[in-house]
Amino acid sequence: MGTIHRPLPTITPDHVRFWEAARAGRMELQRCNDCGRFWYYPGPVCHYCSSRDFTWTPVSGKGTIYSHTVLERAKGNPFEDDVPITIVLVRLEEGPVMMSNLIDYEPGELRIDAPVVVDYERVDDEVTLPVFRPAA
C-alpha cells in the first residue's frame, strides 16, 4: 500500500504528546492514576472515572483486530485514488479500541481477533500516524 492522501488531524495541547511520541516511533497513551486504565483517544480527562490525574505511559503497541473493512470506492474524498484502503478497529492489549489501517498483510491475516502490532507512517513533519501490521 502506498502513501494515502490523508486528511490530517489538528494537533492540540490535549494530544500533542501522543503525536510527539508517534514521531519518535512510540505509542504513548494517558494512564489514569486513579483507576489505572488507559484511554484512547487522548483527552483532558479519564474516560472511565473522570479523573484528571494521569501519566503519559508507553504501551505495547500490540492488539487484536476487532473489526475490519477494505474501502474500495471513495469518490469525492482526498484519498479516492488510493483505494483499496484497509481500515481496522484494533483492540489494544491495554484495553482501548482505536481505528487505524492494516498494512503489509496476507489475505488470511485480515480477520477479527488476528494479532497485530503497531507501525508508523510518516505523513509530514508534524504528523506520523500509527498504523498496524500483522504480528509476527
Binding site: V70, A74, N77, M99
Partner: protein
C-alpha cells in the same frame, strides 16, 4: 393538557431536481405540509431545521424569512444527521404541549445529487464522523457501517446474503411507489454482484444520494383543517451513546450496549412504555435504512427479529401483507436519500399509512406505525409510535 399531533406532511420532487435550488425544494415541501394541515403560513410560530450541509448555521431563520414567518417563539436547528427530524419531532411535540408554540414547522432539504457536494466537504460540514482520529485513516461513511457489518457478522453468524434480503425487500416496496428513485426488482444475487463499496457492503447495501425536501407540521390536536387526518403521538423516545468507533466498540462497560448492540432498545422501550402497546400491535414500520446493516441491528435490538435473523425476518415478514411491512415507500435504499431530511420521508410515509392514503402501498387497516431515525454509525436513535386519529 394540550395534546400534539402531526397535522400535515409534504415532500418536494425528489431524485434529481436540477431546476430548483435547495431553498426552492425546502419551500415547496414546507408549503405542501402547511396546506396539508389546512393551515396558513402565518399560523406557523415555530421552526426547526437541519441546515443543509453547505448552508449557514442560520439557515432555519433564512427559510422562515423566505416563507414570511416573522415572529417565532421557537426557531432552532437540529443537527444530528439522520436522527435530526426524529429528535426535532419530540421537541416540536413538547413545544406544542407546553404552550410554547401553536404550530411548529419542521422542514429540511438537500441537493446531494445535483448540488456538487464532495465527500470531504460533507464529512467536514456535517460532523458525521471524527476528523482527527478516524478520517485520516480513510474512513468514509460507508466504511464506518462496513466495520459495523463485519463485526455484526462475526457476532451473529449473519452473512452478506442476509443483509441483501433487506435491500431486496425494500426494492420490492419501492416498486409500488411511482415516486421512488429505483423501482425495478432486484435479487439477493444482484446485491452480491454489485460492486463492493467498503467490504462487506456492496453498492446495493448503501442508501442513495438524492435531491429532495420534506416537511411536517406539529400542531395542537383539533387545530388543523381536518382532525380526522391528524396523526397522534402514541409514544416517542430517543437515545444516544458514543461517537468514535473505538468508543462504540468498547461500549458502556455494562455488557449491554456496544457497537453491534445499539441503544435503539432504550429509545424503543420508552416509546413502547408510553404507548402501552406491544411489538405485535405495530401495523407497519419505517426502520431507518442508511445501510442494510442499519436496519438489521435495529430490528434485532428492538426485539422484532432474533439475533442475526433480521435478513430472514425482512424476507419472511417485511412485505405488504406480511406480519410487519417495513419501509413501504422504498426507504433510503430505493426511494430517496437527500441527507439529513431523508429520515423525514419515513415519517411522511408513516403518516400516509395510518391515514390510509398510501395508495398501492397501503397496509390494510394500518392504524399504528413505528418510525425510527438514526445517525452517526448507529449511535443515535429515535423511535416514534404514531397512530391514526381517534377524533
Amino acid at each position: 393538557m394540550t395534546e400534539a399531533v402531526i397535522a400535515g406532511v409534504g415532500e418536494s420532487k425528489i431524485g434529481k431536481v436540477p431546476e430548483l435550488t435547495t431553498l426552492g425544494i425546502i419551500v415547496d415541501a414546507a408549503l405542501k405540509a402547511i396546506a396539508d394541515a389546512g393551515l396558513k403560513v402565518q399560523d406557523i410560530d415555530g421552526i426547526i431545521l437541519h441546515p443543509a450541509f453547505h448552508m449557514s448555521p442560520r439557515y432555519h431563520i433564512i427559510v422562515a424569512e423566505t416563507l414570511g414567518i416573522y415572529v417565532k417563539t421557537l426557531a432552532d436547528t437540529e443537527m444530528a444527521g439522520g436522527a435530526s427530524y426524529g429528535l426535532a419531532l419530540e421537541r416540536a411535540k413538547q413545544a406544542v404541549e407546553s404552550g410554547l408554540c401553536k404550530n411548529v414547522l419542521l422542514v429540511g432539504g438537500e441537493k446531494l445529487a445535483t448540488g456538487h457536494l464532495s465527500g470531504s466537504a460533507m464529512m467536514a460540514s456535517v460532523g458525521a464522523h471524527n476528523l482527527d482520529w478516524e478520517y485520516p485513516y480513510g474512513a468514509t461513511i460507508p466504511s464506518y457501517y462496513a466495520l459495523l457489518a463485519q463485526r455484526y457478522f462475526h457476532e451473529t453468524g449473519a452473512t452478506e446474503a442476509d443483509l441483501a434480503e433487506i435491500a431486496v425487500m425494500t426494492r420490492r416496496h419501492a416498486g409500488r411507489n411511482p415516486r421512488a428513485t429505483y423501482r425495478d426488482p432486484i435479487t439477493v444475487e444482484d446485491v452480491l454482484a454489485s460492486p463492493i463499496i467498503s467490504s462487506p457492503l456492496h453498492r446495493l447495501d448503501c442508501s442513495l444520494v438524492s435531491d429532495g425536501a420534506a416537511a411536517y407540521v406539529v400542531s395542537a390536536k383539533g387545530a388543523s383543517g381536518d382532525p380526522n387526518r391528524e396523526v397522534e403521538f402514541l409514544g416517542i423516545g430517543q437515545a444516544q451513546s458514543y461517537y468514535h468507533m473505538g468508543q462504540l466498540a468498547e461500549g458502556a462497560g455494562d455488557g449491554r450496549h456496544d457497537l453491534v448492540h445499539t441503544v435503539v432498545d432504550v429509545a424503543g422501550d420508552r416509546a413502547f412504555a408510553q404507548s402501552g402497546l406491544s411489538r405485535d400491535d405495530i401495523d407497519v414500520a419505517m426502520i431507518y435504512d442508511s445501510f442494510t446493516v442499519t436496519v438489521a441491528v435495529q430490528l434485532e435490538d428492538l426485539g422484532f427479529a432474533e439475533r442475526g435473523g433480521a435478513g430472514a425476518f425482512m424476507r419472511d415478514h417485511g412485505d405488504l401483507g406480511g406480519k410487519l411491512p417495513i419501509n413501504t415507500h422504498g426507504g433510503l435504499l430505493s426511494f430517496a436519500h437527500p441527507g439529513a431530511c431523508g429520515g423525514m420521508m419515513s415519517f411522511v410515509e408513516a403518516v400516509h399509512q395510518v391515514r390510509g392514503e398510501a395508495e398501492d402501498r397501503q397496509v390494510a387497516g394500518a392504524e399504528v406505525a413505528l418510525v425510527t431515525s438514526a445517525s452517526a454509525v448507529a449511535s443515535n436513535f429515535t423511535v416514534s409510535i404514531l397512530g391514526a386519529s381517534r377524533a
